[in-house]
């Protein structure tokens, strides 16, 4: 163990799974390290998926995606 602190994660929420699929494609093309995870139960009990990434990527992801989507919601985990 290195003793390094656990990274702080953010999730990006979209209105539908189709938006998540589109965003995943764009971000992977840009080689941004992201993960698809179920929407945490603390955020919503819906059966949804969202995109998870480290805090340091928030700005970058925002700038890549802002022209593609009208509705995006960033939440700290």
């Amino acid at each position: 163990m290195t003793g390094a602190a656990e990274p702080v994660y953010f999730v990006l929420l979209f209105p539908s799974v189709s938006h998540v699929m589109k965003a995943e494609k764009i971000l992977l093309k840009e080689e941004i390290p992201i993960k698809i995870i179920p929407v945490p139960k603390t955020i919503s009990s819906d059966c949804g998926v969202c995109i998870r990434f480290e805090e340091k990527l928030v700005k970058k992801i925002k700038s890549i995606l802002e022209n593609h989507f009208e509705t995006m919601e960033f939440r700290k985990l």
Binding site: V17, V20, M21, E24, K35, I36, I37, P38, V49
Partner: protein
Amino acid sequence: MKCEIDARGLACPQPVVLTKNKMKECNHIEITVDNETALENIKRLAGSSGWSYEDTVSGSNYIITLKGDNTKTTDAPAEFMTSCSGEGTVISFSSDKMGKGDDELGSILMKAFVHTITTLDSLPSAIVFYNSGVMLAADGSGVADDLNVLNKKGVQLLICGTCVNYFKIGDKIKTGTISNMFDILNTLSKATRIINP
């Protein structure tokens, strides 16, 4: 009527079978068992039959008190299954997509599914991968890191070698064990439960 069962020393699934039989005659049952598997099985039986239960620890034994309506209890509902220690739950990935229908959707669902395994209270004992399921274990699949976490927690990952060769992804498999039909079938046949997403 109150009944008592001493199920100490009995092998699974005896304690749960005895309990099930008594639930037809008694509305208050006190069962003594000496292992956690029996305790959990009886609690699940009670829960799925609509009975209330309380358990206490007494030395190395557990005492479970069940209360319910024996006039309504016929047989345990179909969804109740006894799990004896066995080999536990095995997840079988026969594809890198979850379900049939839309492949892109199936791919997203699968990523969420695999990540969710890492958050389970009770982890599967093994995960087997075959056909395009082996793609999940390859670097860059989006879930190889989750599988590695599971592997480090003691979940056995058996990856079909024939399939890995067929897809030419041998150099990308960095977690789990490249396995064969014998071990995969053996693991599946000993499983208490198989989950096939």
